[in-house]
């Protein structure tokens, strides 16, 4: 099969760029630890309220872990518990969330916290809140008639 000289140059350049790009996101993921939320833990969605840590939604101080707080959310159509929470500025927080019914989204606007909540699974993401202000949590997966009313608020305070 004949390949034009310019096309060879174009493809070599393109493939080389692609390899650099893939290396960058690979190093970021596996060496720097910037993996997407991929928690493998499961839970009975019908008994969320009685199981730790979801029996205590909200911000809980923890000791002896890599993070200072656990921020626990329970989602159900069409609200999050807690509906509002304060987080101290600079806190390293593990956000843990799950759903009691259908699939919901969990996107903290203006941050990189963005994960799917699926019945039976726990979703988690570790982050540091280093900007003060009010951050809106929106459900970004369609969950029914009240989907667009489903929100919560994280207030990062000094």
């Amino acid at each position: 099969m004949h390949i034009h000289k310019f096309e060879k140059i174009w493809l070599i350049f393109g493939v080389a760029t692609l390899l650099v790009f893939l290396s960058v996101i690979g190093v970021s993921a596996f060496y720097l630890g910037n993996q997407p939320p991929s928690c493998l833990a499961t839970i009975n969605p019908e008994q969320v309220d009685t199981q730790a840590p979801f029996d205590k939604p909200g911000l809980n101080k923890v000791e002896g872990k890599e993070w200072d707080y656990e921020l626990v959310f329970v989602a159900s159509a069409f609200n999050y518990t807690p509906g509002e929470v304060e987080v101290p500025l600079g806190a390293k927080v593990k956000v843990l969330a799950t759903t009691k019914d259908v699939v919901h989204g969990f996107n903290v606007a203006g941050t990189n916290i963005n994960m799917m909540l699926e019945p039976g699974y726990i979703s988690e993401f570790v982050t540091t809140f280093d900007k003060p202000g009010e951050f809106l949590i929106v459900c970004n997966e369609y969950c029914g008639a009240g989907h667009h009313l489903m929100s919560s608020m994280i207030k990062v305070v000094e």
Partner: protein, 552 residues
């Protein structure tokens, strides 16, 4: 033109009827889906509420199902039948009959699904994620659409096999080859969605089983959901590679490379669905990353395609005496809608493809996942690059099939339509991308989110989306007007079905490209490699399943 070539180049009347049946459904779908889209952008501007009884999410379900699943599939099946009939010869009676059976199955399925949506029994959007549970007839309808497309695909495979038998040792006609690749990809991909619908959702909605495994259902859906976008794209590529060169008066840059790029799409379209599930629990990040790598492999045939198209344009321009670095651009037939409309589509695919790279990168995905950025992205790719190319195809194919011509007046109107589309989509998709980066969610009705300051920032962009949506709807009305003209009222005559020739006809395409045992074997291996362990993990660690919910 002598009588013989005229006979060869004109699609048989019986095949033409088959094609037109598909296009009628596709364009009715375009109008209904476009209308729903307009209303959605108006609702989301905050300035308009739907008249009593219509739900926003009901409308959104209609928009997605009718445009993404029905309009596209009908157009593509119709176009591929016509491409095969034109290049591999008139369908045999058996092939045509099979194609008609497929058409009626798809049509019955469409009507069933549409009725369930209109009765508000299926406001589950076109992705129908469990455990939201639609009426069983909605799932039956979707199944019929898929089975119908398999039946139609069977007719294309039969036509291909028939041609190869008659022409041993010869590479198949390029358009037929491409239609076959897309058909094979579609059949392998739809096995995923058919499995979740038939074995999980249908028995569950009928009450035969109480619970459904949500994560497996989603993974099966996305096994299908990404190749679905290539099923839309490859027919546009057929036009870009084979038809547009003929329209401008040029040649296909390389027949073999065009085939090779289609084979690469066949290989790398399917084992990539996990990049839609990057922020989901229950799937190991290493497997997500592996599928991210496989996803990016389609960049290679995309680069090949971009090179070939612009090489064709430049070669043609220079053959017409163009000088300087970009002089050849002036020689292109900008006044010909058959060229200009697909060309606007090609241009939109540049930002569209770049956005796709962002979406599929595992870290950047976290910023844009399920924000309205994603909606902006696929309105550039499928709803501009692909759809404008389909319109460009229609402007010569419809009159070719109905024995009419595209008049100068209609050509002008078509150009206006393309320009309006570009303007409307710049507003709508641009505003969607911008609002998405600020966190605005997709698939949501108008909401002030309790007066949150961040949500207030999104509203000006939502107004821009409504402006864009309105311009797009005007363009859709023009498309429908032109379609009706070409189908029923344009003057009688002969409109050409353009099929390009390769620049180098001496070079025969390598026969290994038609070795389907080899290519399908690699497809199966790649899928097994990418999906076996993630599926075993999902099954072994499965939580208790979910009961159905009807929350609308």
């Amino acid at each position: 033109m002598n009588a013989f070539t005229e006979k060869v180049n004109k699609i048989d009347r019986r095949d033409a009827k088959l094609g037109m049946a598909h296009f009628y459904v596709a364009f009715i779908g375009l109008f209904l889906g476009g209308m729903a889209g307009l209303l959605q952008t108006l609702v989301r501007s905050g300035q308009f509420t739907l008249p009593a009884g219509i739900g926003y999410y009901q409308l959104l379900t209609l928009h997605g199902v009718v445009l993404a699943l029905v309009m596209t599939t009908f157009f593509i099946m119709g176009f591929q039948f016509m491409a095969v009939s034109r290049t591999a010869g008139t369908l045999t009676n058996k092939q045509r009959k099979t194609a008609w059976v497929g058409f009626w199955l798809m049509t019955i399925g469409t009507v069933m699904a549409a009725v369930m949506i209109l009765l508000s029994e299926a406001s589950v959007l076109y992705t129908f994620y469990a455990p939201l549970q639609a009426h069983a007839l909605f799932y039956v309808g979707l199944t019929l659409v898929i089975v119908g497309s398999w039946t139609g695909g069977g007719a294309i495979i039969m036509a291909y096999v028939g041609w190869r038998k008659k022409h041993p040792g010869q590479p198949s006609p390029l358009l037929t080859f491409m239609a076959l690749v897309n058909t094979l990809m579609w059949i392998v991909a739809t096995i995923g969605v058919a499995s979740t619908v038939l074995f999980q959702l249908l028995p569950w909605s009928l009450g035969l089983v109480e619970r459904v495994d949500v994560a497996i259902s989603r993974t099966l859906f996305w096994y299908f959901g990404h190749p679905l976008v290539y099923f839309w794209l490859l027919p546009a590529y057929m036009a870009w590679y084979v038809i547009v060169p003929k329209i401008i008066g040029g040649k296909i840059f390389s027949d073999s490379l065009a085939r090779l790029s289609f084979i690469l799409f066949l290989l790398f379209s399917i084992p990539v669905g996990l990049h839609h599930q990057l922020v989901e629990p229950g799937i190991d990040p290493a497997w997500k990353f592996l599928q991210v790598i496989l996803t990016f492999m389609v960049i290679v045939p995309s680069l090949m395609t971009a090179f070939s198209l612009f090489a064709t344009f430049e070669t043609f321009g220079r053959s017409q005496g163009a000088t300087g670095l970009f002089g050849w651009l002036k020689k292109l037939p900008w006044g010909d809608a058959r060229f200009l409309i697909p060309f606007i589509g090609m241009l939109s695919f540049i930002p569209g493809g770049a956005g796709g790279i962002i979406n599929a990168s595992n870290q950047m995905n976290q910023v844009v996942h399920n924000t309205i950025w994603v909606t902006g992205h696929f309105h550039l790719t499928v709803a501009t690059a692909v759809i404008l190319t389909f319109f460009g195809i229609s402007y010569w194919l419809i009159p070719h099939l109905t024995g009419r011509i595209l008049t100068k007046a209609m050509n002008k109107l078509a150009i206006l339509q393309g320009i309006l589309w570009a303007i409307g989509m710049t507003f709508m998709s641009g505003a969607m991308h911008a609002a998405g980066l600020l966190g605005a969610p997709r698939r949501s009705a108008f909401s002030e989110y309790g007066g949150a300051a961040q949500a207030a920032e999104w509203i000006p962009y939502q107004i821009a989306q409504a402006v864009g949506g309105s311009i797009l709807f005007i363009a859709i009305i023009l498309v429908i007007y032109i379609f009706i003209n070409l189908a029923f009222f344009a003057p009688k005559g002969e409109e050409e079905f353009p099929v390009g020739e390769a620049a180098n006809t001496a070079e025969k395409a390598p026969m290994i490209l038609e070795n389907w045992k080899l290519w399908l074997g690699i497809v199966v291996l790649l899928i097994a490699f990418a999906y076996t362990i993630p599926f075993i993990d999902l099954i072994e660690n499965a939580p208790i399943g979910s009961k159905g919910y009807k929350l609308w």
